[in-house]
C-alpha cells in the first residue's frame, strides 16, 4: 500500500469514507424503526416488538457512525477539525440525539427507570427524527458550502456566531434531511417486515413502506434537482478553487462508473420497496439495503472526486477542503489502507452473527418471555 501514490490513497480513502457513509445511511433503518413506534403499532406488545427488533441492531449504527468519524479523523483530519470545530452546534445537537438513543433501549422498560417509559420512547423518536434530519442537512453542506475560512496553520475560523445553526436558515438543506428521515422509515418498515413474524403486523408495515416512499420521493427529487443544476466547486492542478456551472452533473458524465453505481443503487432501492410494499416477500430490505449503500456512496463520490472540493467554503473559496489538502500524510494513509483490509473480515462476522440472531424471527411470545427484552 505504501507503494501506492499519495493521490491514489487519497482517492481510496474517499471511497472508504463514502462506503461508510452509505452503510451509515442504510443502518439508519434503526432510527426509522424508532420513529415508527408512534403510529404503526396498535398495541403495547407490537410497540415492544418494534423496539426489540431494531434495538438489537442499534450498536451497529452507533459503531458505523463512530467509524465514519474515526475514518474522517484519520484520513481527512482537516475536514474533521473544520466541520466539527466550526459547525459546533449542529454536531453537538446530533451527538445529543445519539446519547439519548444509547440509553433508551436498555432503560425504557426497567423498573425504577426514573424518567418513565414514555420519556425514553420520545428520546428514541428524537434520535430517529431530529438526529437523522440534522445528519442529512450536515451532509447537504458538502454541496452548498459553509461559511468558514482557514487561518494561520489551517486553524478554522467560522464566519458566523451561530456555529453551524445558520444551516437551519437555508431552505436548500432541508430536502436531503427530510428525505433521509422518510428513507430511514422505509428502511425501518422493511426491516420489521423481515424480522417480525406476525402477519397482521407485516401488513401494516407494508403500508408504511408505501406511505413513506411517497413522502420520501419528492424531497429526494428536490435534492437531486438542486445538486445537479447547481454551481459546484472545482479545484485545478495548483489547488485553486473556482465555481463551475453544473459541476455535479458534469461529475456524473465524467465518472460513468459512479453514475452506474447510483443508477443500480436506485434500481435496487425501488425493487426492495416494491418487494416490501406489493409482494408477500419479507426480503425487500436486502435489495433496499444494497441499493441505499450504492446511492449514498455514489453521491459522496461525486461530492469529492473529479477535482471537486468536498467541503466548500463559500466565504473564502480558497479555504475549501479537497481530498488533497484535507488528507493525512502519504505514510498514514498507507498504514491505514493496510488496516482497511480487515474490513471484509469484519463484514463477514457481522453477516454471520446477524444471520444467527435473525434466523428465528421475533414473535409476541418471545417478547413476553424474554427476561432481557427491551
Amino acid at each position: 500500500m505504501l507503494s501506492l501514490s499519495h493521490e491514489i490513497l487519497q482517492i481510496y480513502w474517499w471511497v472508504i469514507v463514502s462506503l461508510l457513509g452509505g452503510l451509515l445511511v442504510f443502518m439508519m433503518f434503526v432510527q426509522g424503526g424508532q420513529t415508527l413506534i408512534f403510529g404503526l403499532p396498535k398495541s403495547e406488545i407490537e410497540k415492544d416488538m418494534i423496539i426489540n427488533s431494531v434495538g438489537r441492531k442499534w450498536e451497529l449504527t452507533f459503531t458505523t457512525l463512530v467509524m465514519f468519524g474515526g475514518a474522517c479523523f484519520a484520513a481527512f483530519p482537516l475536514f474533521y477539525a473544520t466541520s466539527f470545530g466550526g459547525a459546533y452546534w449542529v454536531w453537538l445537537a446530533i451527538l445529543f440525539c445519539f446519547i439519548l438513543q444509547a440509553v433508551s433501549y436498555e432503560y425504557r422498560k426497567k423498573p425504577d427507570n426514573f424518567l418513565g417509559q414514555k420519556t425514553y420512547e420520545i428520546f428514541l423518536y428524537i434520535n430517529g427524527s431530529l438526529g437523522v434530519i440534522l445528519i442529512g442537512m450536515a451532509v447537504s453542506t458538502f454541496f452548498s458550502g459553509s461559511d468558514f475560512a482557514l487561518g494561520e496553520h489551517n486553524f478554522v475560523e467560522w464566519k458566523t456566531p451561530y456555529r453551524g445553526l445558520e444551516a437551519l436558515a437555508n431552505p436548500l438543506l432541508y430536502p436531503l434531511g427530510i428525505a433521509m428521515f422518510f428513507l430511514s422509515r422505509v428502511g425501518g418498515a422493511l426491516y420489521l417486515i423481515n424480522n417480525i413474524s406476525d402477519e397482521n403486523f407485516r401488513a401494516k408495515a407494508r403500508k408504511a413502506v408505501l406511505k413513506n416512499t411517497i413522502l420520501f420521493l419528492p424531497f429526494f427529487l428536490m435534492f437531486i434537482i438542486w445538486i445537479f443544476t447547481k454551481t459546484g466547486f472545482e479545484y485545478d492542478a495548483e489547488g485553486v478553487v473556482s465555481l463551475v456551472g453544473f459541476k455535479y452533473a458534469l461529475n456524473l458524465v465524467k465518472m460513468p462508473i459512479v453514475t452506474l453505481i447510483i443508477l443500480v443503487g436506485l434500481g435496487l432501492v425501488l425493487y426492495g420497496i416494491y418487494k416490501g410494499a406489493f409482494t408477500k416477500s419479507t426480503y425487500g430490505v436486502v435489495p433496499y439495503g444494497v441499493g441505499v449503500v450504492f446511492v449514498v456512496m455514489g453521491l459522496f463520490l461525486i461530492a469529492g472526486l473529479n477535482n471537486t472540493a468536498f467541503y466548500p467554503s463559500f466565504s473564502n473559496l480558497q479555504s475549501s477542503l479537497t481530498i488533497k489538502n484535507a488528507s493525512s500524510s502519504h505514510y498514514t494513509l498507507g498504514v491505514m489502507a493496510y488496516v482497511s483490509l480487515i474490513v471484509p473480515f469484519v463484514l463477514a462476522y457481522i453477516f454471520v452473527v446477524w444471520r444467527a440472531i435473525d434466523s428465528r424471527k421475533i414473535t409476541q411470545d418471545e417478547i413476553k418471555n424474554d427476561h432481557h427484552a427491551y
Binding site: E59, M67, F73, F84, F98, N154, S328
Partner: protein, 509 residues
C-alpha cells in the same frame, strides 16, 4: 472572580465527559471478563446455577454498558468540536488509533453484544460463550487503542513536523503503537477497571449474604471476583510501579507535582502521606509540607531504578539546575519562540518562493522543534501543573490500591475457608468499598491528565493552542447541557441498577 476563557470551559467539558465516561467504562472492562469466566464454568459444568449467575451480572453489565457507549461517542467527537486545532495538528497520528479502535474493537464488541444478550436460545452454548469472550476482548481492545493514542499525547514519538502543513505527520506506526508509555498506560488503566469490577461483584454479593438471599450464588460470584481481583490488583501494583518509572523518564514535571517536590535531591524518598503548604511559592526555598511521612530512597528507586539517583523538583525544572544539566523553562521558552517564528518565516517565504529563506527557517525550526509548545507559554511557571490536585489524587489512588489488595486477600481466604458469612462487618466493608474503587480510578485519571497540564501534547502543544476558536458562551452552554444530561442519566442508571440488584438472581433463570 475572573471570567473563565473558552479553553477553560472546553477543558471542563472534556473533564466532565471523561469523568462520567470513566465511571462506566472501567466496570465494563472487568465485568465482561468476570462474566466470561462465570459462563465458561457454566458451559464446562452444565450447572444451571452458573447460568443464572451469569445472566444476573450480564444484566447489570448491559445497564452500565449503554451509558458508557453514549459518553464514549461524545469523547471521540469532542476532539473535533472543542479541540479542532489539536485535531488538525495531530490527526495524522492520533486519528489512526481511533479509527483502528472503531474497526478492530468497537465492531467486535457491538456485533457480539447482541448474541450475548439475545442469543441464549438462538445459538449453541459454545457460540454464545465465544461471543461473551469476544465482547470482553473487544471492549479491552477498544481501551488499548484509545490509551495508545493517549500515551502518544503524553510521550509523542514516531512522527515528524511538516512545516508546509504546520502539523505532525506519522513516520513510524509501530513506534506509536508499541510506545512503552502507551502500553503501560493501557495495562495500568484496564487493570484498574478489573479491580473496580471485582470490588463491584464482591460488594453486591456481600450485600446478598448480609440479607440472607441467594447465599450460594453470591458466594460463588464472590469467589470468582475475589480471585480475579487479587490477581489483577497485584498486577496493578506492578504496572503502577512501571508507570512511575515511565513518568520519571518522560514527564518529570508531572512526577514532581505528584510528589509535591519543589527541590530535587539524590536518594529521594517517597512521601507516603503529607499536607502541602497552601502558601508555597516557586523558588522560596521553603519546604513543601506542613507535615509529611516519607519512605526513604523509594522515589529514586521507583523513578530511576537506583536508590542514589537524583530526582528533579519543580523548581529545578522551572528555573533550571546547571549542576544537574537541567534546562530552565525560560530557556525552553526562548527556543520555542524561535521555533514559532521560524515556522511563520518559513510559510511567508514559501508564499514568495524565497527558497533560501525557507531553508534557513526550516533549519532553525528543526533545531528548536522539541520546544515548539514552550513558545506559547506566557511565563515559566505556566509549565507547572496544579500541584495540590495532582499530589492528593496520587495519594488517594495509591492508598486505596493498597487497601484493595488487602481486602481481596482476606475475602479470598475467607471464601476458601467457606465461612465468610460469619464476618458481618467485613461484608459491610465490602459493600461500602464499591464507591472507593471508582474514587481510586478517577483519582488516577486526575493524576494522569491534570498532571500533564498545560500540555495537550507534551512539550509540543498547549491546551490553549489546541482548543477550537469558540466564544466561551458556546462552551458554557454545552457544558451545562452535558452536565445536566449526564447527571440525569447517572441518576437513572443508579436507580435502575439498585432495583435490579434488589430483584436479585431469581428473575434470571
Amino acid at each position: 472572580m475572573s471570567e473563565l476563557a473558552s479553553v477553560d470551559w472546553s477543558r471542563a467539558q472534556f473533564a466532565l465527559t471523561a469523568i462520567y465516561h470513566f465511571l462506566f467504562v472501567p466496570l465494563t472492562l472487568g465485568l465482561s471478563f468476570i462474566i466470561a469466566i462465570m459462563e465458561s464454568i457454566y458451559v464446562k459444568t452444565g450447572n444451571e446455577q452458573w447460568k443464572h449467575i451469569t445472566k444476573f451480572w450480564l444484566k447489570l453489565f448491559a445497564i452500565n454498558f449503554a451509558i458508557g457507549v453514549a459518553t464514549g461517542i461524545i469523547m471521540e467527537f469532542e476532539f473535533g468540536t472543542n479541540w479542532a486545532n489539536y485535531s488538525w495538528f495531530v490527526g495524522d497520528i492520533f486519528g489512526a488509533p481511533l479509527a483502528i479502535e472503531g474497526l478492530l474493537a468497537f465492531f467486535l464488541e457491538s456485533t457480539f453484544f447482541a448474541v450475548m444478550f439475545f442469543g441464549w436460545d438462538k445459538v449453541s452454548k459454545k457460540f454464545h460463550l465465544i461471543s461473551t469472550w469476544l465482547v470482553a476482548i473487544g471492549s479491552n481492545l477498544s481501551a488499548l487503542w484509545i490509551l495508545i493514542a493517549n500515551g502518544w499525547m503524553q510521550y509523542p514519538i514516531g512522527m515528524k513536523f511538516n512545516p508546509d502543513t504546520a502539523r505532525m505527520e506519522m513516520q513510524n506506526f509501530f513506534e506509536v503503537a508499541l510506545s512503552p508509555v502507551g502500553i503501560i498506560k493501557f495495562l495500568h488503566t484496564v487493570t484498574s477497571g478489573y479491580v473496580i469490577s471485582a470490588l463491584f461483584v464482591i460488594g453486591i454479593s456481600a450485600w446478598f449474604i448480609l440479607k440472607g438471599r441467594h447465599i450460594i450464588m453470591a458466594k460463588k460470584s464472590m469467589i470468582v471476583a475475589a480471585s480475579f481481583g487479587l490477581v489483577t490488583s497485584l498486577f496493578l501494583l506492578f504496572s503502577g510501579d512501571e508507570s512511575g518509572f515511565q513518568v520519571t523518564r518522560t514527564q518529570p514535571m508531572k512526577l514532581a507535582a505528584m510528589e509535591g517536590l519543589y527541590e530535587g535531591d539524590s536518594r529521594q524518598g517517597l512521601v507516603m502521606f503529607g499536607v502541602l503548604k497552601p502558601d508555597k511559592k516557586h523558588g522560596d526555598g521553603q519546604g513543601s509540607f506542613m507535615f509529611d511521612i516519607e519512605i526513604p530512597y523509594l522515589l529514586s528507586l521507583i523513578g530511576k531504578r537506583d536508590i542514589n539517583a537524583f530526582i528533579p523538583g519543580i523548581d529545578d525544572l522551572v528555573f533550571g539546575n546547571e549542576k544537574r544539566n537541567i534546562e530552565s523553562v525560560s530557556s525552553k521558552m526562548a527556543k520555542g519562540k524561535i521555533a514559532v517564528d521560524a515556522l511563520r518565516t518559513y510559510q511567508e517565504a514559501k508564499k514568495t518562493g524565497d527558497k533560501e529563506a525557507m531553508a534557513k527557517a526550516q533549519n532553525l525550526l528543526e533545531t528548536n522543534m522539541n520546544f515548539l509548545g514552550y513558545g506559547y507559554l506566557e511565563k515559566p511557571t505556566d509549565a507547572v501543573p496544579p500541584v495540590a490536585l495532582t499530589f492528593y489524587s496520587f495519594r488517594i489512588m495509591v492508598m486505596l490500591g493498597t487497601y484493595f489488595i488487602a481486602l481481596f486477600f482476606v475475602v479470598m481466604y475467607l471464601c476458601m475457608a467457606n465461612n465468610i458469612e460469619s464476618f458481618k462487618k467485613l461484608l459491610w466493608i465490602c459493600v461500602w468499598t464499591i464507591p472507593l474503587g471508582y474514587i481510586a480510578a478517577e483519582a488516577g485519571w486526575i493524576v494522569a491528565e491534570v498532571g500533564r497540564q498545560p500540555w495537550a501534547i507534551q512539550d509540543l502543544m498547549t491546551v490553549g493552542v489546541g482548543a477550537t476558536n469558540l466564544g466561551s458562551v458556546n462552551v458554557k452552554i454545552s457544558f451545562t447541557l452535558f452536565a445536566i444530561l449526564f447527571t440525569a442519566l447517572l441518576i437513572a442508571e443508579i436507580k435502575i441498577m439498585l432495583k435490579q440488584i434488589k430483584i436479585g438472581f431469581e428473575s434470571h433463570a
